[in-house]
């Protein structure tokens, strides 16, 4: 394999900016995702301020200019833009870049024993398309009329006619930005699929793949199969806006519900695209710190495949009160609730991985356990939404907001951070500070719950989503204390990230040098130096066994690396 390699580039630009090295590209995705997470978080802060103290000046609003804020107060159009862009950015420009872009690119070639992705230049192109997409999204705030303001779901006719939302070019740029994002991840998906199928090291059979690789592979396939209809829908929406067609405009014979079907056909599987890499992180971190094989490896995978297939048959549960044919509702409700069956298997298998282990609790493990415990809440509360009659009441209320934040926040941020703390030594060659890490974990976990748990109560109380001023409603006045509490907790959640940023800076400059395998883990990436050299491995890796051979009876040590010969393992 080594003869296909390229010499390590020497110029700064080829090495760090326009690099074709999957490790550099993975880090680029990571930084981009983190910057966008910060921006998305600040948008949440501005929204929450307006909700808790409607019509008051937002501290820090001096950084924003008119017409977004007037005298420091957020205007309704800007509020709607924040609602829209917070969702868009967190899903497409934080979750996907970090979980698929960063972890997928950085880890998959290392974990399968490859020297790079199958198409390194395509890989570079994917990242730069995504970078352009992110820029387009952020620039859209500064065009006349501001950024898209029709919700991240962009339901027409509101999104189809500039007059109805007051947003003209912002919405067009939103469509353009998403189209670019989809292209980036379609190219990335093809690349990942090809890499996993064709570039595995000798001995790395499919059933020896680390769970993370399986999850990335499944996520890429789900994404590629589901995104088509939404791309078509986005083109129709753009035509409606720019050319004046009426695909979604009833006055011209169009149908607004068509968009909802096209959007959610992708929109729901997208949740699994994000979720699966998060489960992949858990499946690597939990065994390593329990010193145990993952419980029922194949059963987890079969369950994930079943859930992946089911995820294509449930999209209309977002549309129970949309006016679609009511006879379609119950089949979608049944299919939705059925997803709990494969996920029960996955969750209990992850829990059973702890059973009889020898459990250590470094920050990475704390984050993994945090992901697992919090995701369970997200999963269970999904049943309420999946049950069509209950959904009549809680649809489009804060109950839904709480529910999907309990699924996505653990997956993306807690799971992402578990991965970050776990693989940081590999990526940067230094250990993160554990004390700062644990402070960061507990502050984040507590403030996360303080933000989102009360939202269930708000939703039950009838607090609808995306309203600018809850004080309009008598119904919501008794709940205003909760709303204020949530806002204060949001500020705490944002401030809780300061120890994290300090940790990164301190550890990158002064952190302890990482050994090749600080966690004594089995997968291939730990068999090479931290950080790995150009082209990843010094020799050609040969895989001897599955990825989770921890605490094998009769072995001298409690781990058996995938690459190591059993003979050398026992004689050492």
């Amino acid at each position: 394999m080594s003869e296909t390699g390229h010499a390590e580039p020497t110029s700064f630009f080829r090495r760090y900016i326009f690099s074709t090295d999957h490790k550099v590209i993975g880090k680029q995705y990571l930084f981009l995702g983190m910057v966008m997470a910060l921006l998305g978080g600040l948008m949440a802060y501005v929204m929450r301020w307006q909700l808790a103290w409607p019509g008051s000046q937002v501290p820090g609003a001096a950084l924003l200019s008119e017409p977004a804020v007037v005298d420091g107060v957020v205007t309704p159009p800007f509020y709607n833009a924040l609602v829209t862009m917070h969702g868009t950015i967190m899903v497409f420009f934080v979750a996907m870049p970090i979980l698929l872009g960063a972890f997928g690119n950085y880890l998959v070639p290392l974990m399968i024993g490859a020297r790079d992705m199958a198409f390194p230049r395509l890989n570079m192109l994917s990242f730069w398309i995504l970078f352009t997409a992110s820029s387009v999204m952020m620039i859209s705030f500064f065009v006349p009329g501001g950024a898209a303001a029709g919700g991240w779901t962009a339901y027409p006719p509101l999104s189809a006619r500039p007059l109805l939302s007051g947003v003209n070019w912002g919405m067009n740029l939103w469509i353009l930005g998403l189209a670019l994002e989809f292209s980036a991840f379609l190219l990335g998906g093809v690349n990942l699929l090809t890499t996993v199928v064709t570039m595995r090291a000798p001995g790395m059979t499919m059933w020896r793949l680390p769970m993370m690789v399986w999850m990335q592979l499944t996520a890429a396939i789900i994404f590629m199969l589901s995104v088509g209809p939404t791309i078509a829908g986005a083109i129709l929406l753009l035509l409606d806006r720019v050319v004046g067609t009426g695909f979604f405009v009833p006055q011209q014979g169009g149908d607004p519900l068509l968009w909802q079907h096209l959007f959610w056909f992708f929109g729901h599987p997208e949740v699994y695209v994000i979720l699966l890499p998060g489960i992949g992180v858990l499946a690597e971190v939990l065994p390593a710190f329990s010193r145990k094989p993952i419980f029922a490896y194949k059963m987890i995978l079969y369950s994930i495949f079943v859930a992946g297939v089911l995820s294509f048959l449930v999209w209309a549960h977002h549309m129970f009160v949309s006016g679609m044919n009511p006879t379609l509702v119950m089949p979608f409700s049944v299919a939705t609730i059925l997803i709990s069956v494969p996920f029960t298997i996955v969750i209990f298998a992850l829990i059973a991985t702890l059973w009889g282990g020898s459990i250590q609790l470094p920050t990475a493990m704390l984050y993994a356990l945090g992901t697992l415990t919090m995701f369970i809440i997200g999963g269970i509360t999904g049943i309420f939404n999946g049950s069509a009659p209950v959904d009549i009441y809680i649809h489009d209320t804060y109950f839904v907001v709480a529910h999907f934040h309990y699924t996505l926040f653990p997956t993306v941020l807690l799971g992402g951070l578990a991965g970050f703390y776990f693989w940081f030594p590999k990526m940067f060659g230094r250990m993160l500070n554990e004390t700062l890490g644990k402070i960061h974990f507990w502050l984040t976990l507590i403030s996360f719950n303080a933000v989102f748990l009360p939202m269930f109560a708000l939703g039950i109380g009838g607090h609808v989503r995306r309203i600018y001023d809850p004080s309009t409603y008598d119904l919501l006045k008794p709940l205003h204390g909760i709303t204020t509490f949530v806002t204060i907790a949001t500020v705490c959640l944002l401030l809780s990230q300061i120890p994290f940023l300090i940790n990164i800076v301190v550890s990158l400059t002064r952190g302890e040098r990482a050994a090749a395998n600080p966690w004594r883990a089995n997968t291939l990436e730990w068999s090479t130096a931290s950080p790995p050299p150009h082209e990843n491995f010094v020799g050609d890796p040969v895989v001897m066994r599955g990825p989770y051979e921890y605490s094998v009876p009769g072995a001298d040590q409690d781990w058996l690396p995938q690459m190591q010969d059993a003979d050398t393992a026992t004689t050492r």
Binding site: T75, P76, P77, Y79, N80, V83, G150, Y155, P157, L164, S165, G166, P250, Q251, S290, R291, K292, P293, F295, A296, Y297, M299, V321, G323, M330, V334, I337, S340, V341, T344, I345, A349, A352, T353, L354, G356, S358, Q360, T373, I376, I380, I383, F384, S387, A388, P389, V390, I392, Y393, D396, I460, G461, V464, I467, Y468, Y473, D474, L475, Y550, P553
Partner: protein
């Protein structure tokens, strides 16, 4: 927790609430089981001198039963929730009972237009009455609403009725309810409909028979 629910005043709201509580208690049981196991395992199997990990792969059926049995139980519970749900959903969104009162409700940016057919009981005649934001109905009578929208998607939401239905332009969607207690109940728009979304506050007034008759007299007979 129950105190956060607005007081239910519709005939079908009780079914929705009891389904909510069924899912809540079943969900809570699973929550306690799953989180309890995690907590127990982390404490019990914390690494120590004597704590060596066991080699448990979960592959033999005897072991994988630990995850398959819970999944089977979940499947049964799912079907129970579905069976109850089908009934409750049909009650709300299925065929309306014979209506006593007919209204037309049309959302627009940013308000609700409520059209009453007037004394002749027929829409689109000169005696129609159109009110902005105010919906007046009698108590314990079946109210049938033809829901529509002039521009974008709105969503008719009355928390006290546990009723929500999107209003689509170009379509008339039938909605019905029967309110069981007189009083004033807020109407919200649940679907983002533009920069005035928050202002779409309507008011449903459920009258006693006498006050409804009086309201009709004062407003319809002009």
């Amino acid at each position: 927790m129950a105190k956060w629910f607005p007081h239910n005043v519709s005939t079908f709201g009780g079914d929705i609430d009891s389904l909510f509580w069924l899912i809540f208690w079943v969900g809570l049981a699973w929550f306690v089981l799953a989180e309890g196991l995690i907590l127990y395992f982390v404490i019990r199997y914390r690494r120590g001198k004597s704590q060596k990990a066991a080699y448990i792969t979960g592959v033999p059926w005897r072991q994988s039963a630990w995850i398959l049995v819970p999944a089977a139980v979940v499947l049964v519970l799912d079907l129970a929730v579905d069976a109850m749900g089908a009934h409750a959903f049909e009650a709300v969104k299925g065929e309306s009972p014979q209506p006593d009162v007919r209204l037309r409700l049309t959302g627009e940016q940013f308000g609700w237009n409520i059209t009453y057919p007037g004394p002749d009981g027929v829409f689109d005649t000169p005696d129609d009455l159109v009110m902005l934001y105010e919906m007046h109905v009698p108590v314990n009578k079946t109210v049938a609403i033809a829901l529509g929208s002039k521009d974008v998607i709105h969503s008719f939401f009355v928390p006290a009725l546990r009723l929500k239905q999107d209003a689509l332009p170009g379509r008339e969607i039938p909605v019905w309810f029967k309110a069981t207690e007189p009083g004033d109940y807020e109407i919200l728009c649940a679907e983002l409909c533009g920069f005035g979304h928050t202002k779409m506050r309507g008011m449903l007034t459920v009258h006693t028979d006498e006050s409804y008759a009086q309201w009709v007299r004062e407003n319809w007979e002009q």
